[in-house]
Symmetry: C2
Subunit: 408 residues, 2 copies
């Protein structure tokens, strides 16, 4: 019997996870290591136990679920994604990849298929980075690009550290985070954009990612009174930050269609109704499919910041704290996905990922591929985020077929 995805079971599993931390409008809020994220992880592990999977967990909270192969010496074929969400998240970002992976294992059990190589399903900790920055924290630490001790010390906006959140949620495992001995890493994800829907593609073959550059900015002005202080005597950090936000947006618009730029986080001090603000912090990023273009976007931003400093008599501190990409994924695996999609009469389209994904961290360590399923209306990080049961099942089937081809 050919292993076949059960579209309904996959859909029901996604809906069951979505109920945990449900927010109005069909969305979910399960930021990393919150009680909601912890509950979703427990439900997921319960399902894995029903399949008799081996469960390992590392000190940064990454979860590895293993199905044995017939050849104990063979390297595992690994796949998965993440269960955490942004505060106003949808039901599919990350979750679709983890539960498509679970459905692959369920379908293999249903068909009584044992692979030669072991299979490993992964739920990475804190991919979103909404509560603890940077994003892709679990995979960064596992990949060795970010030190465990540094990650544990990071605090959220309430001053709670990753170490404390891991301890309180019971999500710190005994394993030392490290690269795993895998032959391949595959990640199914929703597109998070409108291109596949617009072009009628069933499966996106992700050939690589944009280059993204992240900045934490501090604008330092001078406190004064909103009433008697003439406009010309002010050094208003919030007004300076407003200029930066619009400059970032303009840089993003100028870089369309292959570039983006965003300012999405702000902290204003003293944030008082009677006071001209004197310290405003901003988070922003620039990204582009062409790495040199992303660097040029940063240069434009830095020139704008210098100009704002000069004109407004404020000081701007720039912390360019991280980047990701550009990553080129494994071309042999990309071809495999194209072939497996074609075998199922599904159309494919080569895609460049604009968002960061855990696969970005795996690509330098192990042959890596990502496959996208369409996002209806291209809406994502939004309760309205939606992919149809059939779109998800098609993606999971191609994932299953590719896993079988790799694991023998």
């Amino acid at each position: 019997m050919t292993p076949t995805i059960n579209a309904d079971r996959l859909w029901q599993s996604i809906m069951a996870i979505a109920e945990i931390g449900a927010i109005p409008g069909n969305g979910s809020c399960r930021m990393a290591l919150t009680p909601e994220d912890t509950a979703a992880r427990a439900l997921f592990i319960g399902w894995c136990q029903e399949l008799g999977l081996g469960h390992e967990q590392d000190a940064i909270g990454n979860q590895f679920l293993r199905r044995a192969g017939t050849d104990a010496s063979a390297k595992a074929v690994a796949f998965g994604s993440h269960l955490d969400t942004v505060p106003t998240g949808g039901r599919f970002d990350g979750v679709a990849g983890v539960l498509a992976g679970l459905e692959v294992l369920r379908a293999l059990d249903d068909a009584g298929v044992k692979t030669r190589a072991p299979l490993e399903l992964v739920n990475w900790m804190n991919e979103e980075g909404s509560r603890f920055r940077p994003a892709m924290m679990g995979s960064r630490v596992a990949a060795g690009t970010f030190r465990l001790a540094d990650a544990l010390a990071i605090t959220d906006d309430d001053g709670i550290s990753v170490a404390q959140a891991l301890a309180e949620s019971g999500q710190a495992g005994p394993l030392t985070p490290a690269p795993r001995d895998w032959s391949a890493w595959l990640e199914l994800h929703i597109e998070q954009g409108p291109v596949m829907e617009a072009t009628g593609a069933d499966i996106g073959v992700v050939v690589g990612t944009m280059h993204a550059r992240y900045f934490q900015l501090s604008v330092i002005g001078e406190p004064s009174h909103v009433g008697p202080t003439e406009m010309g005597r002010r050094h208003d950090s919030l007004a300076a930050a407003a200029e930066i936000i619009l400059a970032v947006e303009k840089i993003g618009r100028a870089a369309e269609p292959d570039g983006r730029a965003s300012a999405s986080w702000i902290e204003n001090i003293p944030n008082a109704r009677g006071n001209v603000s004197h310290l405003t912090r901003l988070h922003c990023d620039v990204r582009h499919t062409d790495a040199a273009a992303a660097v040029a976007m940063e240069q434009t931003l830095r020139a704008v910041l210098s100009d704002i400093e000069r004109r407004r008599g404020v000081r701007i501190e720039i912390d360019p704290y991280t980047t990701f990409g550009p990553i080129l994924f494994d071309q042999r695996l990309g071809s495999l996905i194209r072939r497996k999609a074609a075998d199922r009469q599904l159309t494919t389209r080569d895609m460049v990922a604009a968002a960061g994904h855990d696969s970005v961290l795996m690509a330098p360590l192990v042959p890596t591929a990502m496959l996208f399923v369409p996002s209806v209306g291209g809406i994502t990080h939004n309760p309205k985020e939606y992919s149809t049961p059939a779109q998800l099942a098609h993606g999971a089937q191609v994932l299953l077929d590719a896993v079988l081809a790799l694991a023998g």
Copy 2:
């Protein structure tokens, strides 16, 4: 013996209050009903008890300290200001007025002078409005322009209500807030601007206040992902708010020198690094010496908001929650201050107050006057806020002389 201000004692008292909630750079942070504000109130009341003053306190926390006169049927002459500060406050805003009033009473005791009319020294609750908006809360409630129940229900950014803060600080008195039976209300305050220093005036005779109009704005956009969402498909509430902040600044600049406009408070949701923001709240105000010009500034702002709504596909809710002024203070009292200053060889200058003051609430109820002392460098709501001991003593002496003229 002619009652004379003790400049050193006044200065030492101001410095003693400034130590409570001291912040780096010689400033103070004593937001209304915080432990610091409560401690400053207790120190002040202790000083008043040493003078044997009667102490009454109303349910919104306003403090009334009474020195008996020889004619029990005469209406009291009242004066004072406020002891609370903004988060990055200086040592003089409000405090100078309360402690100049205390020094008036101490000087009368020193000279063994008993007035015919009673004297009443006042510390108004929450003049600044930094923690609980609106500003001038205590005087608003006492004046009857704001209902006590509504004020008690207002919460700070941590969700603590005025009622809870009053109860926990022990500052809710037994008196029902109501207009007091006064013959005059006088308030000494620092200028909070550079005009008196620049023109060499010792005493500012405040003839009235600007007209100010306050707005709480909510910008409602659409959540999406900062990576894959093309710039043109975004409805970014933070970028829209940035446009508003700069528009407010531009409206303020166009209204110089007699107008101001400020945006000083922002709240951004979800304020996550991976999410285009979908709800941003802003606080702003426009003000002008000419009330019609302030109304015109609001009209310009509303036109800008409509344009932003249309261009960006966002919705902007406007809550024009309060105004103050324009108030014309009592001209007879203004003349009295001018005469008393001249008697002391002090120069005067007529001023229009740009900030709100408790006197704005008293003016419709009782003949009201304000006198300003210079602010060095015009810097205020800033730890660098400074007036010299001599400037403060000159102001207190004119206050004392005016009080004596009124109280007989």
